[in-house]
Amino acid sequence: MPRPLLSFLLLFAAPASVLAALCFGSADLPAAEALRGLFAGEGLAHDIVWQLRLPRALAAFACGGLLALAGALLQVLLRNPLADPYVLGISGGAALGALSAMLWGLGLLAGHALALGGALMTTFIVFGLSFRSAEWNSLRLLLTGVVLASGCGALISLILALAPQAMVKGMLFWLMGDLSHAGTVWPAWLVLGAVLALAMSQAGRLNVLHLGQLKAATLGVAVLPLQIGVYFGAAAATVAAVLLGGSIGFVGMMVPHALRLLGVVDQRRLLPFAVLLGGSLLVLADTLARTLWAPQQLPVGVLTALLGVPFLLWLLGKR
C-alpha cells in the first residue's frame, strides 16, 4: 500500500473510531443526539458522552496503543515474530495480583495496587534471570518469560478453582480483557506518550538492532543499553495496558505484523503507526463489545481477535 495513503488512513481511523465509540453504546441514544451531547453544556446526552463513552474510548485507545507499541518493541528486542506483550509474563503477574485481590475481597484500588505489584515483580524477576555477566541472551529472556508466565497461569487456574462461583465470571472477564472497570485514564496516556517518545528517539537504532546484536555493534550501536531500555519501555507499556484493561490478547502481536505486511518496516513509521492502528482497533472492538449484546457486555479481547484474525489472514493470503 502506498505510504501516504496508509498514513492518511491510520490518521483518519483514530478520530473516526473514537467518534464511533461516542455515537454507539448500550443506551438508546441516537448518534446525532450523542454528537450534540459532545458539544452541549449539560443534559443526558452530554453526561453519557462525557462521563461514560469518551473516558472509555480514551481508555481503549490508550490500552490498544500501549499493547501494539509493546508488541512492536518486543518483536525487535527478541527478534521473534511471535513475541507479544504477554510473552514476558508481565500480564501473568498482574493477573495473579488482580485475581488475588478479588479472591480476598479487596477494593478496586487494592486490586490495582496488587496487579501493579505482580507486574513489576515478574518484570524484575525476568530481567534479573535473563541478564547475567553483562550480556543479553534473547532466547534466555524469552524462555524465562514463558516459564514465569506458565507458573503464573498455574496459580491463576488454582485461584479460579478455589474462588466462589459468584466471583469467577468477574475474574474471567479480567483475564479476557475488560475495559468496563477502566479507572483514571491519564496515567496510561502519560506512559504511552513517554514510551513512544523514547522509542522514537531510538527508532534508527532499533532498525539496526533488527539485524542482530553483533551486526548492530559493527554499525555503531551500543547494544546492551538499548536492549535494557527497550525491555523496560515495553514492560512499562504492558503494565499500564494491563492495569487499564486486563489481559487483552491479539493486539500486541498482530498489529505490528499487519503493518509489516502492509509494507511498513522502518521503526520510525512502524512505532507510531502501531499506536494508531492498535488504539483504533481496540476502540472499535470495545464499541462492538458494548453494543452487540447490549446491555450485556462482551469481553473486548474476544472482539479484538474476531476483528483482527480475518484481517490478518487476508493480508497473509495476499502476500
Binding site: 527478534r79 537504532r205 533488527h210 551486526k215 555493534a217 559493527t218 554499525l219 555503531g220 518496516v265 522502518d266
Partner: protein, 257 residues
Amino acid sequence: MLACANLSLGYPGKALCLDLKWGMRPGECWALLGQNGSGKTTLLHTLGGLRTPLAGVVTLDGKALYDYPRRDLARRVGVLLQHEDYGFWGSVTDYVLLGRHPHRRSPFGWSEEDRHIAEEALAQVDMSWLAGRPLDTLSGGERQRARLALLLTQQTGICLLDEPLQYLDVRHQVQTLELLRGLTDAGKAVMLSLHDVSWAARYCSHALLLHDDGTAESGKSEEVLTRARLEHLYRCAFEEVGGGVLLPRPADWRGSV
C-alpha cells in the same frame, strides 16, 4: 593503522592465539588463513572491537579500540560477519542503507547522499536490479552480495571480512576480490579470512597464518604462502599445479604430513 600487541585469544580450555603482534597499514590487503576452529573469526571480531581479548590490546592509529566511542569506531572499521541472522523484513535497499547508520545526521530519514552511496554500492556488487526485492527472498549468494554492499555503504577505512566468498559463484568471487583490490588501491586496508590459498596468493599483498597451537606467522604473501608453511598450517600435502598455484595433493587429503 590497525595493530595489536601481545594479543591472546581463546576460550576456557582452548588457546586460539597467543602473544600476537601484528599491524595493517592503509593500502594493504591481508589474507587470514588457518584450519577450521583456529580462531580466524575470533581474531576478526577482536580486531573489529566486538570481542574483548584474553590479554593484549588492539589499537587503531595508536589508540586502544575500547577508547573509541562505538559510533566513531563504526565509521572507521567495518566488519562483514560470517553469520548474520536473517530476520530483516525490508527490501535490499532498506537493508543496505543501514550501513549509513554510523554516519547518520538526521533521525528522521536517509539523506539523498546516503541513498546515492547505497545505490552505488549495490551497483558495485551487481545488485541494482534487485534493489527493491525483499531481502528474505534472495538466494544465499545474493544475500552475501547485499551484505558486501552494506559494508561498502559504511565507507570505512578498514574492512574486516569473515569468509566474504562464501555462497558466491566463481564469477562473483572474482568480482568481490577485484572490488576489494579496488578498495586497497584507494588506500583502504582490508583483511579477509579465506580457505582458498590460490585466491590469497593472487589477490592479497600479505598473509597471516593462524596455527592450531596458538602460534601465528605473518608477512608478505610471497614470503609466507610457501608450500612448507601451508603444509604445516593445514597438516596436508600441497603440490604446485603450474603458475605458482599451490593446491592440496588429492592422494594426501585423508592423511596428514
